[in-house]
């Protein structure tokens, strides 16, 4: 009861604040009229060579945030693995499926039919992040989604054979490593850390270089994100009492 009153009071307070806030959607309110936004919108295309301004901001203007973000994903993986442990390496483990019922043939076939399209779509999302909605993490999440359905339908045993740990393991950190490498490259080019543009070296190649680096970073994020999501899922699905199947 006390908490209800507390929340009601909080809601009233927040309503009061909201009532005093600048009107939404007004071009003159502080968020829309600041010079920050003007530059993003008007020069963003030229400066970051990304038609999608959001991608430009994520990768370029606020790349440091995104580096933190990919670190968060990696941290989540490390945390989940520290808490639950990984499915074990080197040996094949049977997944104790509580249902012990094979999944439906129809669903299997349909998933097999759709998975290539899902993966290609995510590749498209990753590679076209700078000109259409989407980007690294979205693509990674879509691949993760396809692998989720793959895992639930075909079982952990099969999917952990198909996406083995020795494949996932090196790729999990790829996002952070790519980002750091690109950032350090900017430093080598005479700029600051995370500089994507360095006139001294690139010259005329500048625009395409920036685009390629953006795509590189997006790919890194996508791969890393997908692998992290898959690993988290596997680690959560795996039963404590895995049965060892001697190969």
């Amino acid at each position: 009861m006390i908490s209800l009153v507390f929340i009601a009071a909080l809601f009233a307070l927040l309503l009061y604040v909201v009532a005093n806030m600048p009107p939404m959607g007004d071009p003159d309110n502080p968020t829309n009229s600041s010079e920050v936004i003007e530059r993003y919108l008007e020069k963003g295309g030229e400066e970051t060579h990304a038609d999608n301004v959001v991608t430009g901001i994520i990768i370029n203007y606020r790349g440091y945030d995104t580096m933190g973000e990919v670190t968060v994903i990696f941290c989540a993986l490390a945390a989940v693995l520290a808490v639950l442990g990984r499915e074990r390496r080197g040996r094949i483990y049977a997944y104790v499926d509580r249902s012990r019922v094979p999944s439906s043939v129809i669903v299997r076939t349909m998933v097999a039919l759709l998975v290539p399209f899902i993966i290609l779509f995510s590749v498209y999302t990753i590679l076209h992040g700078e000109i259409s909605p989407g980007g690294g993490f979205q693509g990674g999440a879509i691949v993760g989604g396809s692998m989720i359905v793959f895992t639930t339908i075909f079982g952990l045993l099969e999917s952990s054979q198909r996406i083995p740990q020795r494949l996932r393991f090196p790729l999990e950190g790829s996002a952070v490593i790519t980002f750091f490498a690109v950032g350090a490259l900017g430093l080598a080019g005479g700029g600051n850390f995370l500089t994507f543009a360095w006139p001294e070296i690139a010259g005329n190649l500048q625009p395409s270089l920036v685009v390629w680096l953006t795509v590189l970073v997006e790919t890194g994020i996508g791969l890393g994100g997908a692998m992290v999501l898959i690993s988290i899922l596997f680690s959560m699905i795996r039963e404590e009492e895995e049965i060892a199947v001697v190969p």
Partner: protein
């Protein structure tokens, strides 16, 4: 399953994926085409590795050619189904007498059976609720709905070029 067969399967998948890519990127620029070719080849190889035997080999150019006509007939069935269902639902007394019936199909392989059962789901008054080997369990809204199944089965058999034997 020989290597050559696997290769042609991959190629077919790659071509389908490439078409999908073009539809997605919505451009015919050279850069995108090359990128698309590379990516779809990559994804084709990847998914064949990923899905292995789950990828049914029955998709052939012949099936792809017959597919549009099949789809048209299917859509007609769907429209009929909807008319039917709408009639039942909007009927004040809800004249249904549902039951689960079993149906044994002669269609071989996973893909034809899947297409068959999905078609059943989309056609009047029937929903496939279980498929084990060649035995389908179908939930029928009204008893008379079972009658359309055989025709549908013929349609699917035609699509995949399956002859009824025995």
């Amino acid at each position: 399953m020989g290597g050559g067969y696997a290769f042609s399967r991959r190629l077919l998948l790659c071509i389908i994926l490439f078409a999908f890519w073009i539809a997605l990127t919505a451009t015919l620029a050279l850069y995108d085409l090359v990128l698309g070719a590379v990516c779809s080849a990559f994804v084709a190889v990847l998914t064949v590795a990923l899905l292995g035997r789950a990828l049914d080999p029955r998709i052939t150019p012949m099936v792809l050619l017959r597919l549009p006509w099949f789809l048209l007939r299917l859509i007609w069935e769907i429209i009929k189904a909807n008319y039917d269902v709408a009639k039942i639902i909007l009927h004040p007394r809800l004249p249904i007498d549902p039951e689960i019936v079993e149906y044994r199909t002669y269609l071989p392989g996973d893909l034809p059976r899947t297409v068959f059962s999905d078609s059943i789901t989309l056609t009047p008054g029937t929903v496939t609720v279980e498929l084990e080997e060649d035995l389908l369990k179908i939930h029928c809204l009204c008893p008379y709905h079972q009658e359309g199944l055989a025709g549908l089965e013929r349609m699917v058999a035609w699509l995949f070029g399956v002859k009824r034997h025995g």
